[in-house]
Structures are given as structure tokens and as C-alpha cells.
Symmetry: C2
Subunit: 477 residues, 2 copies
């Protein structure tokens, strides 16, 4: 049934607007810009057409097949809209899913808001229509090119690359916006595979979508923003089953008592004891993150990198200061180890690096110095990756002005491609030079490498991948 | 004597190059681009002119007054270069300061490197010349427009605004590069007031520069990247005196044993026990930060915002999810409090916000909802700032597509300007919408407001300002 959420044939948008400053315009513009191949039917009695889509005075009046209805009109119009839907369903019976983006429903905890949500849900249940929302920003599928959101990321669609394998679910529309927009603002904009803001969860909820995404072959990793869920047992079971197949990354708020209080007054649903959630996440192999940056970094790392087979992380740096800084970041996580590599590896490293390089002091650490050429950078990296005691590498370069960054980026891509799929190990590339290295980072990112701008972020992602790897190994043991 | 470091009359650059891929070219290009008004004398026997600057075959051959010599040539040429300097000094005696950017000196711990540094220092001492470096990236003063660094930030100079009040000192050239480049990549690029990479500290060191910056009126806040310093007592005394006048923010590495080991093999100087440093920083009112992002955020906040008079931080948000997320971030710092505001403030807030707003549940928290207009945003902010129980505000907006962002930004600037200088309180503006809100953030930043892209970063900066404020109050008490 949720198939129509991601692959509808025809989408009717109630509350479509010709005014570019309105949400009901931006939703249409997003689908126009993405060149969504299905049918789009704006419903607005006052307009003839919007963005080239002919307008209809009502849902009932749309002649074509409509399996998805998007509601962006003001909530007070829900009664007439549902009457209109009733009329359509009696006649055509085609609608399978409603995405109710508008706010001002039960989340307001007012009798009016509760009644509006009741009218929506009563109507939907009558015909077995599934509902996403209300009070959400909508649904995106960047493979089918459905986009019911009214979010302008500020980045033109052609600047995005191929869709990633990242699916994201959010209980907060605002946080969903932020994840979408912050992702879009990255060196290579993040094109989420599927993106669902579930709002009040009046019907479709976390478990429904997790079950769907479990079977969805294009989804490689799932991210969630969560305030609370009413059925902890079911959620835990779902996570436990799901994490066997693919990683799940959660940003769960309400960690503090104060945060819990704020969450309760927001969604109304009890956030529950954070310690219970935390234990549940750990026991079911869910990776919990603390910040929005860490969330996006970790999702990208899972999407692109193989899960490490162990926690031995080699630190390979072109600069001393950032290397020490990164060593501190690694040492902050007791689970991570800087490995002792073989004497052979050390000798090979000495042979391919400049004489003043620091090879393995301390163990698991190499500083190839600011004078390192692209060849020094990549030859040593290859040597380190071939050592059996190394499960992953944090690679740091500041890219001095005199280092040809494009050549370096292409050489690094070639190193990665030289390892056959099963032999790849995760490398977390830290490229610490702001706007100057946009070109190098873009080349690396477009070729599936994972880049970061500071070592602490690279280490956080590495720690999260290692945690998931350790969970899988424990579970198999 | 250090005056010549920041306001030289004539700069000779040994190792100047006509090859754009060389450091000795970029240093000249930076001064050309900044339109440095003093004299620049490239020294290179093979070139006639570089970037319009006439070249000289030797230091001795430069006719004009030279008070600063920048050394970017390979270190093996230090002997002939110092001979050349000797000749000049015997004849003209004008050089007061050397910035030796080149690496491969005593930090290599090789007899050759140590001898090269000895030749440099012997020559300098003979004439009372002060030396910055070697093994550094140089010196910048964005008021006098001196820039001896060979760093290309990737951002054209005209994109920077006015110089800030931020001075930054770094023991690591690479980390200095990163702070420079990451700063340049921000919404409004950070133009550091003074920026000094001190490298091996063969002569000019932390204390020299801190003493200079203590008296420098254009310096409002000082940042340091530090691995270790040989005279802890002197450093502590300097910090204690300095923090009475202006805030000092330190990123000190070697927090972990592993990091200390890496630091020792890098600069050679014992990093010392981190716990001793940590206590010293606390006792002398130095704000210690953990990441490069936090460092730059905190420096910018100190530069722009008044030091708060207390730790009562009101959380004013336009979105529920980000508000809860931010509450967790505040609750993570026991020193921060979300204050109980007066009944009058609550009533005024209810009057100027939309009916579904959450006013003070929990205390010190307001969620004005996604439907809030620019007027709702600013009217409520003003009410909160006028409450005596509020020392600072974290302000969160996701800037939905249907909110006119330019109007909002300008209205926020007007609120800030409506408070007379002595009555201003720090507001940490979190604008969570990636590239989409570049315009709004640019307007706010250009008018001296402090913006962040995620709530956790805003709270970290707030916590750091509160810590410094508390230190000053304790000290006065």
C-alpha cells in the first residue's frame, strides 16, 4: 500500500498556489524542476494553470487517475476538502494515499485541531486510504522524482548527483527541513533516496516505514529523527530485524529531563525515559548520534563505505598539528584502536615517504609532512590499506597551496578503485582547507569517497561505522 | 620591536617565485591582491619582475628600506641567504624582523636541520633581529594589509568585510592554514585582525605575542592553537593578566596520552600533562575549546557579542524539533540555566505570538511555531531580551520557504540596534537552512550578529561566553 507513496501515477495538490511565496507553489515547482514524469493536478478554483500544469476546481473534477492527494491548504478547509474527496471516492475510488502537509491539527491540542484531524482520519479510513502527517513537510523519492515538500533548498536540482542510498524519516518537519537543506549545502549536495516527514503520525508511522524500507533495495542506510514512539517493544523488534540487513542511525531528542519536557509539550506523545531508549538502541544495533552534522556525516559514510571488519583505525596525516588533534579525537573513543602494523608495512612506508616523515610514532600513526607530493600521499595510503592489522584509515591533508589538488584527488580515487569490492576498507578523508579545496573534494565525493572538513568529524563517522561492525560481529558470534 | 612584524615599511621576500604553483608566488599575490600599501621586494636572481614588483638578485641589492625579511626559499639555502643578510646589515642595518616560513629546520631533529636553524638564529641575534618561525606559514595583519603567508583561501579578498577584532596564534602551520581557510569559507568570510603562525618558536613565542596583543587596541579576542610551552608559570601569569582585559580561547592538543605522544614526536617540546594545562586554563580564565568549528564560532561570538552578565539563557525557537534538540544541548552544560521570566513577560509574549505558540513550557522556552511571521519573530525576541532574568538568548529559526528571509534578517538587525550599547545582551542566532538562507545570514553577519547553522554550535558558543563572564565576576567578587 505504501508503494503509492513513492511511486504514484497521479498526484493532486489541494492548496496549489500561483504565488511563488506560498508553500503550495514551491511543491509544484519542485516537481517541475525535478521533471517528475507522472501526472500532477493542482487543485485551485481560482487558477487556470500553474507552472504549466492545468488547474482543477476540485478533486472530484480531476479526470485522470489520482492515487496520491497532497493537502497544503489551510487546515480549516479540511472539512470541504474531505467532502470533495468523498465525492471523488464514491465516483472513482482511486486515491490510495494522502500526504497532509498542513499544520494546525491535533498537535495543537485544541478541540478544533483535534476535530480537524478526526475529519481527515475518518474520511481516509472509510476508503482504506493511508495518511502521512498531518503537520509534516511531505515525501520525497528521488528515484521516482516525487517531491511533495514545499522546501526550497537553495541549490538547483541539476547540482545534485545520483540519488544516494540514504532514506530519512523525521518526526519534526523543521528538523527534516534542516537535514534536507544542510545536506543540499554540502560540497556535493546530498540527494536522499527517500525522505519522509511523518509529522503527527496519525496513521503511517515509524514502524510502517521501517518495514517498507527494510525491503526497499535502493535503501542502503536509514536515518531517523525521533522524539518518541508509543510502542517501544514493536519498535525494538523492528530495529533488531532491520539492523541485520542495513544500518539505522537515530537522532533521538529528549536526552535531558528539560528536553523531554519540551518534547512532551511539542508532540504530546510522552518521550519516555531516555535511558530506556538508549539501551534499546544499543541492544538492537541502532547507531545513535548527537548532532545534525554527525547524523548527515554518518549516513553518508554508511552509504559509501564498507562496514569495517574491526576497530583498528590507522591515522595517516600530511600535517602534524591536525594529526595530534585527530589522535585526541580517536583516543576519546575507547572502542577505537590505533593498530601496530607489520615491520614490512613500516619499511614500505619509509621507502615511499619523504625522509623527515614520522612513521609509526606512536603506533598506528604516520605524518608524511607538508612537503609530501600526491605520489607520497597515495603510495603510503595504499601500503597502509594493505596491512592486515588495519581495518580503516583516517586520512588528513591540509592541501597546501603548492600541492596540485586535482591531481591528488584523482590519484586518491584511483587508489580506492584499485581495491576489488570485497577488499575495500573504509577511508575517512579529511580535507581541511575550506573553499580552496572544493574542487578536490567534489572529485572525491563524486567518485564515492567520503570527505570531511575537520578530523573530529571524520573520527565520529569512523566510530559509528565501527560500532555497527562490532554489533554485527557480536551478533554472529 | 614587534611593531615591524605588523607594520613594516618594506618587505623583502627571499624565495619569491614567478611560478603560480609555488609558495613564493602566492605570498606576493596575497599582498598584491590586498593592495598592501608598503614596499615589496621579491628577491630572485632569475626574474626581472613578479606581479609587477621589480625583482632583486639579493637582499643586499635592495635599495629601499627593508625592515622585514620573509624567507620562503628551500632551507638548504639558509647559509647563503644569511651571508647575504650579513652583508646587508653591515651596510644598511635596517632589518628588524625575519619571518622564516620554510620548514626543514630543527623540527626535523636531524643534525642538518638543527644546524640550519642555528645559522638562522646566530645571524639574527648578531643584529638584534627578531625571528618568527621557522616552519610556519607566516604573518597577517589585515589592517596594515601585510600578508606573508602562502595560503590561498579560495575566496577573493573583496568578499571579506571589515577586519574583525580576532587575533590568532598557532604552533602548527597546518592548523593555522585550516583556521584561515575554514574561516574564509563561512557565510561571511572571517577576516582575522592579526594572524601569526609561530612554528618552531626559535625566538618570538606565545608570551611575546600575547604581551603585544594585550596592548593592541584593535585586538578584542585572542585565539591560540597550542601543543605545549616550555615555561608554564610565565604563560599562566600572562594569561591571568590578559584575561582581565580580553578573552583568550585555546585549542590545546595532547589531551590524550596518545595525542601527547604524537605531539612530542611533532614539535619535540614535551606537551606536558594535559591535566596541568587544563587546570591552568581554568584558573587563568582561558576558555578551552575542543574543535576547530568551536574555536572559530567562539572567537566570532566574543568579537561581536557583549559578555553576558549571567548564565540565564532563554531558548526562543520557531520550530519544535530543533527547540527540543537545543534544550538537550543546553541541559548538557550544568552551568547554563533556562530562566523563569516574569509573568509580565509571559503575558506580553502571549500577546505578540500566534495562539498555538508554546510560551514557557518548560520555563525559559518559547516555541512560536512555523507559522510565525517576521513580526512575531522579532516582537517576541524583544520582549524576552527586556526581561531582567534573561542574560542571553538562543534564537532558532528554520526559515520556511514562505517566510520572507530578507525582511526577517533586517528586522532582527533593527531589534539589535534598538538596544543601546550598554544594554545589549548576547543573542546566538541559529539559522538552520543551509544554502537557502545565505542571504539572510549574510545580512545578519554583516551587521554584527552572530549566526550558526545548528543549535548545538550556538549553545557551545553561549556556554563559552558564559564561562568567561562567570570568571570575570568571580574575580571581581
Amino acid at each position: 500500500m505504501l508503494d503509492q507513496l513513492f511511486r504514484p501515477e497521479g498526484i493532486a495538490v489541494v492548496g496549489a498556489s500561483a504565488n511563488p511565496a506560498k508553500a503550495g507553489y514551491v511543491a509544484l515547482r519542485n516537481m517541475r524542476e525535478k521533471n517528475y514524469p507522472g501526472k500532477v493536478y493542482p487543485v485551485n478554483p481560482k487558477e487556470k494553470e500553474i507552472l504549466g500544469y492545468p488547474c482543477y476546481p476540485s478533486l472530484q473534477a480531476v479526470e485522470g487517475h489520482v492515487d496520491m492527494v497532497v493537502l497544503i491548504m489551510p487546515s480549516r478547509l479540511i472539512y470541504s476538502t474531505m467532502d470533495d474527496l468523498d465525492a471523488r471516492m464514491e465516483e472513482k475510488g482511486d486515491v490510495k494515499v494522502i500526504v497532509c502537509a498542513a499544520a494546525d491539527y491535533a498537535e495543537t491540542k485544541t478541540p478544533e485541531g483535534i476535530d480537524r484531524q478526526k475529519r481527515l482520519m475518518d474520511g481516509a479510513k472509510r476508503y482504506g486510504i493511508r495518511v502521512v502527517g498531518p503537520n509534516c513537510i511531505g515525501v520525497i523519492d528521488n528515484r521516482s522524482l516525487v517531491d511533495t515538500t514545499f522546501v526550497d533548498t537553495g541549490v538547483p536540482f541539476e547540482a545534485f548527483g545520483e540519488p544516494t542510498g540514504i532514506a530519512f524519516l523525521s518526526q519534526s518537519g523543521a528538523l527534516a527541513c534542516s537535514v534536507l537543506m544542510e545536506g543540499a549545502a554540502r560540497v556535493v549536495p546530498v540527494l536522499y533516496n527517500k525522505f519522509i516527514s511523518i509529522g503527527n503520525m496519525a496513521d503511517v508511522d515509524f514502524v510502517d516505514l521501517l518495514e517498507y524500507l527494510e525491503e526497499d533495495e535502493t535503501t542502503k542506510v536509514i536515518g531517523l529523527y525521533m522524539e518518541g514512539y508509543h510502542d517501544g517493544k514493536k519498535l525494538a523488534e523492528t530495529f533488531r530485524r532491520l539492523t541485520k540487513k542495513k544500518p539505522v542511525v537515530v537522532l533521538k531528542v529528549g536526552r535531558s529531563d528539560l528536553g523531554s519536557a519540551a518534547a512532551n509539550s511539542h508532540t504530546g506523545s510522552m518521550a519516555g525515559s531516555d535511558r530506556v531508549y538508549d539501551a534499546m538502541f544499543r541492544q538492537s544495533g541502532v547507531v545513535r548520534v548527537e548532532t545534525i552534522d554527525e547524523l548527515i556525516d554518518t549516513l553518508q559514510a554508511f552509504d559509501r563505505l564498507p562496514v569495517p571488519r574491526g576497530n583498528n583505525l590507522f591515522l595517516y596525516t600530511q600535517a602534524g598539528g591536525p594529526g595530534i588533534y585527530c589522535t585526541d579525537a580517536i583516543a576519546a573513543w575507547p572502542a577505537l584502536h590505533m593498530p601496530v602494523v607489520s615491520e614490512e608495512t613500516k619499511e614500505k612506508l619509509r621507502a615511499c615517504e619523504l625522509p623527515m616523515s614520522n612513521i609509526c610514532q606512536p603506533e598506528g600513526y604516520a605524518d608524511i609532512t607538508a612537503s609530501a607530493s600526491p605520489k607520497n600521499h597515495v603510495d603510503g595510503l595504499k601500503v597502509v590499506l594493505e596491512d592486515d592489522n588495519v581495518d580503516g584509515v583516517v586520512f588528513i591533508t591540509v592541501v597546501p597551496t603548492f600541492l596540485p589538488q586535482k591531481e591528488l584527488a584523482e590519484a586518491l580515487v584511483a587508489v580506492e578503485k584499485s581495491f576489488p569490492e570485497g577488499k575495500r576498507k573504509p577511508v575517512y578523508y579529511c580535507v581541511m582547507a575550506g573553499a580552496y579545496t572544493k574542487e578536490a573534494r567534489a572529485i572525491m565525493e563524486q567518485n564515492g569517497l567520503c570527505t570531511f572538513n575537520t578530523p573530529d568529524k571524520a573520527v565520529l563517522a569512523a566510530k559509528n561505522l565501527c560500532r555497527y561492525g562490532a554489533y554485527l560481529r557480536e551478533r554472529e558470534a
